[in-house]
Symmetry: C2
Subunit: 425 residues, 2 copies
């Protein structure tokens, strides 16, 4: 039995009862002969409460101090969890990100892990302890200041520690049973996925699936650490995310052609109207956006109108960046030379993800047919080797997701239809 | 203008408004040309809430984890305070006890500071920052674990930092105007003391005055750091605690003969009845108590009854230790050879403190006369060079304190009568 890293999110440790329940689960793993490292998030709404306090004292809290503040949240949950485990008769020690050797760059509020030196964790494990580590936080390499990794950072902490400690698996405990073929709140017949490849999970994560964050999956793929996403409530087998299919019973789980349908209604669309159709135009638009440090998603350029020599360029971006992007473009209006801007935040994106697309023709056609049958109008299209995404009206998203989910045989009623029939791509 | 250490207690930073008010006060000191180091406690009831959480997960929380938990409180307040200061346009950085170089022993929950290495604080100050330091916490020298200094530890942190940084003064901001000649809740006419010597303050602190803790004053005396106790609300001049009288206006404040009257109703009395009056008896009793790690206060042995050769020994101790002391004595009953134990927690202690006692005869007599005139019966007496303490019924304490306060001319109506008339000691 090797080393296991377990991560518990805020909803799993929301109160004293939750902490005691999680403590029991951790002790079980220890009793099963594993060395156990636990990464824990702040309790329930703690982080939001701290953010609220910060806003009360300062409209623009300084990054360094904001990180110092937020890291109090995990300090509370990790200490309580260690106490609860000791109360069950097992040895446990809690460690801050800094003590656990989580070294980051100096970008406060969204630092990146650049190294993990888990010497104290190793020692604690060798002495028979369960090691509890604060998620979401680290210490900057240069200034030795406390940093945070941004939302979802605890998952990344867990994967990074698993990599540094050469763990067998990184278990991400959450409040759902695993990764589903679609958001179960939208698609009642969504099915839990037993295994999904890193690549497909990366596409799902960047298409709106919130179970795992892109950065965390990327880290796991780079160091080839299997992730097991599962419920801290049910204790059932969840979803394995890894490079190779897992064994289940006697048989190997097959690679599904389609992994799932993701959707995202957090984006807005900006259309730059009346752009001269000449080289360098698009570049000047996206240089202005990039200089404002805004990440964009999909980009489409319309066919130029022959009479005017003008074209329109549309792109999508997070709604939260909308104001900033509009400002950046308006400031450069003369330099870029466009006529006007249109802003639309009533859009949604539906994405179909599956490595099987590469080898199964007809997936794209089936996708569009399903949307058409559901009466959903497509506004933008973008594809990768293993993903097709379309932008529609936001109102159409739930119906569109359900239609696509059914069309590709993902509904749990037809759970036997794991192998996609194929209608030719 | 030199360096000033300011300490703000939990009631001064109980909410966002409090934090903003304190931030303004700090910025004022900075504007006046001082280098400013601020030590801050946890907000309002935070520590109690954390203790409550700990008790919910474990009836006996482990010391190491308990300290990890509690230190989250100052982390929150110090980060918010730094944000609030930056919001006023001044540079500020917050530091944990560990980052500030507060090195302690390894006794969790009541660690003692053994060294302060404030390198990062110096750097922050030299770069023009106001340095905010978490009170009440440090890091253990051997294991590098987070420790706490026990209740009142933030005052000690402030004084220790003031000593290490060679500060001009350590300002302790609190919710009262300073140190008073008696507890103002008991004595309405209690008067704020302008200056008090370290020695008198030490006696007041160990006699029940709660404004400053004994350990903190002791530290200040050892390193000769003047303490200025003052209100974070009024901003008025408070009480100076130092080795030499301060100047006020043109004139030096005189050493008062009597500094004040302290009282304490947190103690109980144990009487060991029927002890053989022979050498070694008292030793065996107090060895049993000491082995149980209980600190006692006053001790009195009655005159031995000639006929029986037996005597009674009474001592006082914190009520919270009562159960433990009784158990320790009962366990050693045969070895010690006493007849029975009496436990009385309805007692109170009244102490009169003043360096002037040494040179002014008659203080003791006046003290007893005042108590007698007030109809208060004395049960135990103990004296030091600059203090007289008596034990009475707990119910008599308020009346006794008022009577003594008036008798020694301490009432604020007779504020001009600073020099004690003397009735012969």
């Amino acid at each position: 039995m090797g080393l296991v890293v377990q991560k518990y999110g805020g909803s799993s440790v929301a109160d004293a009862e939750g902490i005691k329940r999680v403590a029991k689960r951790i002790v079980e793993a220890k009793k099963n002969g594993h060395q156990v490292v636990v990464v824990v998030s702040a309790m329930g709404d703690t982080t939001d409460e701290l953010i609220d306090l910060a806003e009360q004292v300062s409209p623009m809290p300084a990054g360094r101090e904001f990180d110092m503040l937020l890291t109090a949240g995990e300090r509370i949950s990790m200490a309580l969890l260690a106490m609860a485990i000791k109360n069950l008769g097992h040895e446990a020690q809690s460690f801050t990100g800094s003590q656990a050797g989580v070294i980051t760059d100096s970008v406060h509020n969204k630092a990146r892990i650049i190294d993990v030196t888990p010497g104290r964790i190793r020692t604690a494990l060798d002495e028979g302890n369960i090691a509890i580590v604060a998620g979401f936080q680290g210490v900057s390499a240069d200034k030795k200041d406390i940093t945070t990794l941004g939302r979802g950072g605890s998952d990344t902490t867990a994967v990074a520690l698993a990599a540094a400690l050469d763990a067998e698996v990184c278990e991400i405990y959450t409040d759902v049973d695993g990764v589903f073929t679609a958001d179960p709140r939208v698609v009642k017949k969504a099915r839990k996925i037993d295994w999904i490849a890193f690549e497909d999970m990366l596409e799902l994560a960047s298409s709106g699936s919130k179970v795992l964050l892109h950065r965390c999956v990327e880290y796991a793929r780079r160091y080839n650490i299997p992730i097991h996403v599962r419920s801290s409530f049910s204790g059932l087998q969840g979803t394995w995310v890894s490079s190779e299919p897992i064994e289940q019973g006697d048989k190997k789980v097959e690679q599904a052609i389609i992994s799932g349908v993701a959707h995202d209604t957090s984006e807005a669309k900006i259309t730059v109207v009346g752009v001269p159709d000449k080289p360098g135009e698009a570049a000047s638009i996206f240089r202005a956006i990039a200089n404002a440090e805004i990440n964009i998603d999909m980009v489409v350029q319309n066919v130029s109108a022959v009479t005017t020599g003008l074209t329109d360029i549309s792109f999508t971006l997070p709604k939260t960046e909308g104001r900033k992007a509009i400002d950046a473009l308006e400031k450069n209006k003369t330099a870029i030379g466009f006529e006007s801007l249109r802003y639309d935040d009533q859009i949604g994106k539906i994405s179909l993800v599956g490595a099987g697309m590469k080898t199964n023709p007809g997936v794209t056609a089936s996708f569009f047919e399903a949307l058409s049958d559901a009466g959903v109008n497509i506004e933008l299209i973008s594809t990768s080797e293993i993903r097709i995404s379309v932008v529609t009206r936001a109102d159409d998203v739930p119906e569109a997701v359900r239609a696509v989910h059914t069309a590709f045989g993902l509904d749990s009623d037809s759970a036997e239809a794991v192998v996609y029939g194929g209608t030719g791509r």
